[in-house]
Amino acid sequence: MTENTGRLAENIVYFARALRAAGIPVGPGAVLDALEAVKAAGVGTREDFYWTLHAVFVKRHEHSLIFDQAFRIFFRRRGYIDQLMAMMLPQAPNAPRSPEAGATRVHDALFSAMEDKLKKEQEIELDTRMTVSDREVLQKKDFAQMTATEIAVAKEAMKKLVLPLAEVRTRRLAPHPHGHLLDMRRTLRASMKGGGGFIDLRFIGPKTKPPPIVALLDISGSMSQYSRVFLHFLHALTDARKRVSTFLFGTRLSNVTRALRERDPDDALAACSASVPDWSGGTRIASSLHAFNKLWARRVLGQGAIVLLITDGLDRDVDDTLGFDMDRLHRSCRRLVWLNPLLRFEGFEARARGIKTMLPHVDEFRPIHNLDSIADLVASLRVSGGRAGDPKAWMQKVA
């Protein structure tokens, strides 16, 4: 460290700002903690200083990488300046090393100007005088054939569809008028009111809560229109309750849960699109499911989650791992619901190899192409099971 301690406190504050710009949420409280921590640990070796700041600023395992890159750029050794200059200049005299994964991101955050805001689409004037028959037509109209006006109206309708879904019993006990367990604490306090002469029984029973929902959406070419509309539904659902996790997959898997937490639906969807590079690309269902099982299953499927898998099941290369990963996914969650827009075709039969592999491991198999189908989905989630979405019917037809 070549700075004298007079500037160190300032530099730590600036470093915190850099981390904030790079995406790690650092509040003013954390900055004060950092100063306290450095005072407590002393300014010793570079490694100790690194871990001291790491202990205070990094609160999630994922932020560790960003912190590492930011620290290296901010508290750099002298030789690093040349590399940084090489990154910034368009034509360097000696070819620079390609920057590491996090470095460009941190570099952009620190040195580039603010990004241009996304331009909103031109406002289309809505004709709000919809007759009853128009509304009925809209309920049945395929999402892929809707005009922008109709999609806007459909979005409004979906917001109203988000009603409380079936609740599950949790292990937490709460006061309940007809519970079957005695609540000793409240019983005793109630009987103290009467001087202990008689015992006024109070009961507790298990609380119920809606289960967590995990949505895996296919955003490859054929599916992107349906997924986009379904994302609106998921955004409304995320607004309505906690524990909704959303993942988009095409050629790779991305977690967009945080993006969907934005209040405004358009902002939320814009944030989703920004974070996913392979929209309307190809599909690799097997590898995406494998990635989900390996990295995310244990973190989001706890406490009896319901998994909504939205894909058409048409994968270019199908191998044995697809069945294995579907089996694992099925075993890790409470209910696996497959929503397939191909079911809009009257004569649909489960002949494609991918679909045949995936069908046995699924609890429900439903269509997803219009508002009616989404309403059916909500209704079915209220009641567990139901004959309409039974995958066995589809498997028998082909067998």
Binding site: G44, E47, T52, A55, M184, R185
Partner: protein, 309 residues
């Protein structure tokens, strides 16, 4: 309960690492730094990581080396105030009320003050941790916080901020010396940011080959030099495979002691296949490795060790 007298907190990062090494808990510099800061700044320590890497162990080791009491709160879904902080001994209270009645005692205020006194208070771990202790502040281990729900987390946040608990009938109990708090999580659920911000966070990963070798040699004293090298190299190679659950440090220690019990001097495919159940706990993983894969892996490991010599 240990009988050693309480020691003062370590004065530097080196002292912390040395303190843990006394009980044969070999840690790297990063964890030593975070632990030292947590002790010095009086903040809770939040440890996250895969199962079996030694998160719970560090609390036990800390309590042992510092000579403090270890109070353990094991979290589960539905954990509430009654099980975590305090509960009244209702049966005894009812008997006391009846007895007072029989004796002719009618003064309600006196009955209440007698019934709601410390005599009938069952103290659970969080309240025990706040009690004054002549032996210095205890170590409070809150294990597997991700198993509880958000309601308990909110309550815990309040307790950890002020280290005081209010019992309506008796008043507020505040800790004279705040306990040393260590929270662990297996990341089956995202713990709320507000709680993590209050703590100093550290991700406990799998150790490097050199450190794991030292750990195995320290914890399994009777193990041969060659066997320990092979065991550590094999487990490190296993972690690079596509397994559902990679073996942790606890598993490699179990395997090392199992092999020592079996008087094995060097690894061979048959022994490894037989004892694979000690390392891997999922049938899918064992099935994937059975047969030729074990031999392949073992040959690779042995050739690497030979090349390194």
């Amino acid at each position: 309960m240990n009988k050693t007298s309480p020691r003062p907190l370590p004065a530097s990062i080196d002292a912390t690492v040395a303190l843990l090494a006394e009980a044969e808990y070999l840690t790297d510099r990063s964890l030593g730094t975070v632990l030292y800061l947590a002790l010095k700044m009086g903040r809770p320590l939040f440890l996250e990581g895969e199962a079996g890497v030694g998160k719970t162990e560090i609390a036990k080791v800390l309590a042992q080396t510092l000579g403090r009491r270890l109070i353990r709160l094991q979290c589960y879904e539905g954990l509430d105030v009654a099980a975590a902080v305090y509960e009244w001994n209702y049966a005894a209270q009812m008997i006391a009320i009846r007895a007072a009645e029989v004796e002719g005692e009618h003064d309600r205020a006196r009955i209440e003050s007698d019934v709601f006194s410390e005599r009938f208070l069952i103290k659970r771990p969080l309240l025990q941790a706040l009690e004054p202790d002549a032996g210095g502040a205890p170590v409070l281990l809150i294990d597997e916080l991700d198993r509880t729900d958000e309601a308990f987390e909110a309550f815990l946040l309040e307790v950890l901020s002020d280290f005081q608990v209010t019992i309506p009938e008796m008043g507020t109990m505040k800790a004279t010396h705040p306990p040393i708090v260590i929270i662990t999580s297996n990341r089956t659920r995202e713990v709320h940011d507000a709680l993590k911000r209050r703590c100093l966070y550290h991700w406990v990963g799998y150790p490097s080959a050199a450190r794991e070798l030292n750990i195995v040699r320290a914890k399994v004293p009777g193990i041969g030099k060659k066997l320990s090298e092979q065991v550590v190299a094999f487990v490190q190679a296993l972690r690079k495979q596509e397994l559902f659950k990679a073996p942790g440090v606890a598993e490699s220690l179990d395997w090392a002691s199992a092999l020592t019990e079996l008087d094995v001097v060097a690894l061979d495919p048959a022994t490894v296949s037989d004892t694979l159940g000690v390392l891997l706990k999922y049938q899918d993983d064992i099935a994937r490795l059975e047969g030729s894969k074990v031999k392949e892996l073992l040959d690779e490991v042995k050739s690497e060790l030979r090349a390194a010599e």
